[in-house]
């Protein structure tokens, strides 16, 4: 009996871009959610409206262990996230976490790739890697010139940008930017929409670079019990005994070679 679902307090909430919000959550003294969290893990956030039962999984964007705070950055995608965006300082929200496995810290240089709302979890990872003395390169894929969070990476990493409309950086996707700037690294970390992750996997395999990909799937329990959130694995998974892994428990971060996407 180690885990809990708890009530966090909104420490700060701001709109950082069109439809995108940044929220710092504070946890009570006796709760170790912030002290245990690592980059790549997520929180389950719960609605106050009883008609919306299921948790909303949101990645951890930053961790402040001393102040026992966690930051999330999220896009309004529906009723649940809309409700969260209306919360103001001092209000409460039910949270479970930290959930999932997180990224692993590897030797050598790191290439972090974030696409759209997959960018937030890369921030804490960039910070941790940079603090560990690694050379960090970040490729951020945006739709247009609305480059949310970009400047926050500046203290930790060398930054490359791609935009779909070509307004900033390389026109196209993150892979186009990597090729345009001949970005090299020893390990790739990526989070973003599935087509982007497929592209990253293909690039990583072709260039024989190990890659860790953060996956997304609809969740019900968020802790590995219900088998809602599976993704296909190349080999039989030890827990499920079939070629399925649970994104919430075995992931959300997977070695690119272990999953079929």
């Amino acid at each position: 009996m180690a885990k809990i679902k708890t009530t966090a307090q909104v420490f700060r909430q701001e709109k950082i871009s069109d439809g995108i919000y940044s929220m710092w959550l504070s946890f009570q003294e006796q709760e170790n959610i912030a002290s245990e969290a690592v980059p790549g893990q997520f929180l389950s956030l719960y609605s106050k409206d009883g008609s919306r039962l299921l948790p909303r999984p949101i990645s951890i964007c930053e961790i402040d262990r001393e102040e026992r705070r966690i930051r999330i950055v999220y896009r309004i995608a529906g009723k649940g996230t809309e409700e969260f965006s209306a919360l103001t300082e001092g209000e409460n929200i039910d949270v479970m976490g930290p959930l999932g496995n997180g990224f692993t810290i590897q030797d050598g240089t790191a290439l972090l790739i974030g696409g759209g709302i997959g960018i937030p979890p890369m921030l804490e990872l960039a910070k941790v890697l940079s603090d560990a003395g690694k050379q960090v390169k970040v490729v951020l894929g945006y739709r247009d010139s609305d480059l949310f969070l970009k400047e926050e990476f500046e203290p930790y990493a060398e930054i490359y940008v791609s935009t779909e409309d070509g307004s900033v950086g390389t026109k196209g996707n993150v892979i186009d930017a990597i090729i345009a700037h001949a970005v090299h690294a020893d390990t790739i970390y990526a989070c973003g929409p599935l087509p982007m992750l497929r592209g990253v996997k293909a690039f990583a395999v072709e260039n024989k670079i190990p890659a860790e990909l953060s996956m997304e799937e609809k969740m019900a329990c968020g802790i590995g019990a219900c088998l809602a959130c599976v993704c296909q694995s190349g080999e039989k998974d030890a827990h499920s005994n079939v070629c399925n892994k649970r994104v919430c428990k075995d992931g959300p971060v997977f070695d690119a070679l272990e999953i079929e996407i």
Binding site: Y46, L53, A220, C221, A225, A228, C229, N241, V242
Partner: protein, 304 residues
């Protein structure tokens, strides 16, 4: 605490310390919820459906939220009976609770294989999920035809070493007909309701919210339907009823008990509140205290 209140029930000859278990498929085999809940406090743990061989389940998305509930089409993904017996039963045996094993299959032979594999295992009860698609009968569920219900119950009873509980599907015209068929086949108990078949359309993508198109509806939104069916069933058969469908708190559980269920299961509510089972037990005990009820049996079937 409350030692003067008796929450224990006799369910199909098994003593349960309280009438609360988990609904199959919502609690795994307990290992994940063990981090939130003291499993020793539960009357029983009901495990996810297990088949004779591992099943891959359906493509994703497997679930979606609906107003006050959800749809699921997990497709009964399970690791197969061999790994289940090796890993999940020993895990649960560490706790002072009863084990109810939920069994699924696509043919009567597949169910029987699982039941026979469980013969020597120290488990309290078998719960037979007859909502699985019956391959032999062209994919219609076993649980939708009273003749099939009686037949499969009888065949399982011939082989089973533990009491047999048939889990009834609510997707039928008259659930009492299925309950009577199970009783006629020799069932020791029935459990209900399984999920109600539903559908959700994603209007932005102009497609189905679930890859499987349809899914089983569960959660608070189904509760009135479930209470009605439990009430009808409890009056139609003599064997005990395990009631479920939308139970998230003690008030909900008490409705089922008063409608005639001897035990209740907490399912979808675990996803919203991982401590829901314990909250239900504590709440029922508090209700008994407030209302001067010494024995839970005073409440079971107390209406109508």
């Amino acid at each position: 605490m409350g030692s003067e209140r008796n929450l224990s029930v006799d369910f199909a000859g098994i003593l349960m310390k309280n009438p609360v278990t988990t609904a199959s498929g919502t609690f795994g085999s307990g290992a994940e919820y063990d981090e939130f809940v003291d499993l020793n406090q539960l009357g029983a743990v009901t495990t996810k459906g297990v088949a004779s061989v591992p099943w891959e389940g359906n493509p994703t998305p497997r679930i979606c939220e609906t107003y006050g509930g959800m749809l699921n089409a997990i497709g009964l993904q399970n690791p197969g009976i061999d790994l289940f017996v090796k890993r999940d039963i020993p895990f649960l045996k560490q706790y002072d609770t009863n084990i109810i094993v939920n069994v699924c299959g696509k043919t009567p032979e597949e169910y029987i294989e699982v039941v026979e594999r469980l013969a020597e295992e120290d488990i309290a009860l078998l719960e037979i999920n007859i909502s699985c698609p019956n391959v032999k009968a062209g994919g219609i569920a076993f649980g939708q035809d009273p003749k099939l219900v009686e037949q499969i119950t009888r065949r399982i009873k011939e082989k089973a070493r533990q009491p047999v509980m048939m889990k009834l599907s609510p997707n039928v015209t008259d659930i009492t007909e299925m309950a009577r068929a199970a009783e006629a086949g020799g069932a020791d108990a029935v459990s209900l309701i399984n999920t109600l078949t539903g559908m959700k359309i994603d209007i932005n993508k102009r497609t189905f919210a679930l890859a499987n198109k349809t899914g089983g509806m569960s959660g608070p939104a189904v509760k009135p339907v479930a209470v009605r069916m439990v009430y009808q069933t409890a009056h139609a058969v003599k064997i005990p009823v395990l009631g479920m469908g939308g139970i998230s708190n003690a008030e909900d559980a008490l409705e089922f008990l008063m409608a005639g269920a001897t035990m209740v299961a907490v399912g979808t509510a675990n996803f919203h509140n991982p401590m829901a089972t314990i909250d239900v037990i504590k709440g029922v005990e508090a209700f008994m205290k407030e209302n001067g009820v010494k024995d839970i049996k005073e409440l079971i079937g107390c209406v109508g």
